[in-house]
């Protein structure tokens, strides 16, 4: 079956612009996660959804970052007034549910470059 997909694969934008990154989870997975991976670092947790609701958004760095999952499937990560420090690979993952022992399946990521 299809894995987690993310679009676009690459996004180049200018400082101050607004961007949206999309994640399509594996069909039937109720939990969805966003991570950010900066160069030379491991993925950093941002937020996760169980169904339509954000269960833990403690990793969002500031109020310029926001994520939604209105129908409990596709999720969009939104970044307002982008800054050069936002440049990173944004990873999405999904799991069958939000149980602590569940394997999270990762997408290929969206590489965001803020000029």
């Amino acid at each position: 079956g299809a894995g987690v997909s993310q679009t676009p694969s690459n996004k180049v934008t200018e400082k101050g612009k607004y961007v949206e990154l999309r994640c399509d989870p594996i069909s039937g997975h109720t939990a969805l996660y966003w991570y950010r991976q900066s160069l030379g670092q491991g993925p950093e947790f941002l937020i996760y959804f169980q169904g339509t609701g954000a269960a833990d958004d403690s990793g969002l760095p500031n109020d310029r970052f926001f994520a939604v999952r209105p129908e409990g499937s596709v999720s969009t990560l939104k970044i307002q007034r982008t800054e050069r420090g936002d440049s990173a690979v944004y990873l999405c993952a999904s799991s069958l549910n939000s149980g602590r022992d569940n394997e999270q399946f990762f997408g290929p990521g969206t590489r965001l470059t803020v000029l």
């Binding site: 939000s98 022992d101 569940n102 999270q104």
Partner: protein, 113 residues
């Protein structure tokens, strides 16, 4: 707060030799521990996990890891390395709070033919 340390930025090993990639963790309560591998231009792939039970966990591609509670370690091992094992390896931990995963900074493994 949860944390994961991978003390080696890079590990070099000759093909056919055993390999070890080190990981230590800090977490409250009983940890859930994971290893992931990342190949160039590909997503993170799950290798193995420790939840409970036997301290030696076997995973994909011949990898295994040993949970050591007293040393708070979860080192990744393979008896005989392949050139195709060359990749970036991440150790990760979840605490009792839920599925939020904390990753280490990663260790790059080079296997030389």
């Amino acid at each position: 707060a949860q944390s994961v340390a991978q003390p080696e930025d890079q590990v070099n090993v000759a093909e056919g030799n055993p390999l070890t990639v080190k990981c230590t963790y800090s977490v409250s309560g009983n940890p859930y521990l994971f290893w992931y591998v990342q190949y160039p231009n590909r997503g993170l792939q799950f290798l193995l996990k420790y939840i409970t039970g036997d301290n030696l966990v076997k995973g994909s591609y011949g990898f295994e890891a040993e949970f050591n509670k007293s040393q708070t370690s979860f080192h990744l091992k393979k008896p005989s390395a392949l050139v195709s094992d060359s990749a970036l390896y991440f150790c990760a931990v979840r605490d009792m709070g839920g599925p939020k995963t904390i990753f280490g900074a990663g260790t790059r493994l080079f296997v030389k033919a």
